[in-house]
Amino acid sequence: MAETVLRVEHVGMRFNLSKERVDSLKDYILKSITRQMKFDEFWALKDINFTLEKGERIGILGTNGAGKSTLLKVIAGVFKPTEGSVVHKGKIVPLLELGAGFDKEYTGRENIYLYGAVLGYSKEFIDSKFDEIVKFSGLKKFLDVPLKNYSSGMKSRLGFSIATIVEPEILILDEVLSVGDAKFRKKSEKKILSMMDKGVTVLFVSHSLEQVKRICTKAMILENGSIRSIGDIDTVSAEYEEMISGD
């Protein structure tokens, strides 16, 4: 019996979609007097339950607004779920939006240390991996250039190189295999595949069913915030194909 590394239990996530955002005092007072403080409750996720065992790779499928990204953010700890709980073992590396901790005034070199710290790495660890990060990103020439002069592809390359320097137990991928140019894309896919060989557990969101089939062993379909079906990749992807060709 393989060990369970991720357990998601009864997770629900509620958002208040106020018709107009109330974020100034005037609005607040006016609206509470005129009783216009309307909140539309919206459950982005409802009663999500599943577990993943070590080495399993699950693809999360669903149309726009089905709750895929919200689910990944709940698992990564960015959102606190309104109800339910997420328990995980080991280090999670979220490759959600690469370079979220970057500062545009900082140079590439400074950003490596800053983003590394955001991901919870120690200074000594970054020191020891610095050359490896620079080499993988292929940005040696631009290390002392402020990040605001980087192209978006360069930023993603740097972000990817920093985030994947550790060997995580759980890897969260949200459309990141389309980072950078063709050459870097190949390199990053190779890196992720080598992590998979070492038995990392993967949660993967992509709109390309091809990619999901190639990478994942399991799949789940999300529909309006609930799990429509979950199971092995072939049955679920067949159902998904039927679902999207249906209308």
Binding site: V78, A117, V118
Partner: protein, 258 residues
Amino acid sequence: MKKRIDTFWRYRNLLFELVKKGIKLKYRRSYLGIIWSLLEPVMTTIVLTIVFGTLYGNKDHTFPLYILSGRLLYSYFAQGTKVSLKSIRQNSAMIKKVYVPKYLYPLSSVLYNFIIFLISLIVLVLLGIFTGNYPTLHWLLIAFPLLVLLIMTFGVGMILATIGVFFRDMEYLWEVALMIVMYTCAIFYYPERLLKSGYSWVLTVNPVYNVIINVRNIIFHEAFNWGCMTYACVFALVSVVVGVIVFHKNQDKFILYI
């Protein structure tokens, strides 16, 4: 509790990096860089001395030192709280995408401004020598009131950071509040006349003024005012407790508002 300490320990490097970033970026792209943290108080002190000293006929040669001490402490409090107030919203891009303990943002804001403030204290020493009120080892005692000021700024900063997420108006309201704090800090006037009038409370309730009094007492070798010290300590502790509770209770909602 142990889990919290572990988390803090794991992210200590991030706190360090955020403090470093604050200091580095504050003066980046200005020609004089960090020297501005010395030059700026010197220049404002010259202006204030001319206006409230020379033009008002105050001949006391230590008056510039009096002004500078008050002015430095007040501007730390003002800067620290203003930056904390905006800290959550300014880092919204990061907060929305990766998990980090959110109190690190106001905490690092308060800390990096404190380090810049400590550097600017060099000016105080130089001006002490210049005006003949020589700095002695006794001056080291200002560490205690300054520590109280740091805690107070953090506490108030945490409260403001929380309010700032939900009400943008707070930024403007706080500017006005800071103006009141400044005028009731006795930065550029002697408080004696006001203290004897019926309005003395406007000074004595101001926690920053209570810190400034004791820093000045130390600098000018006068008796330490324990009443003011106690008041400032109590205010600092209460603000930290309230700040931490308010922040902690609301932090999970931040992401829905930024």
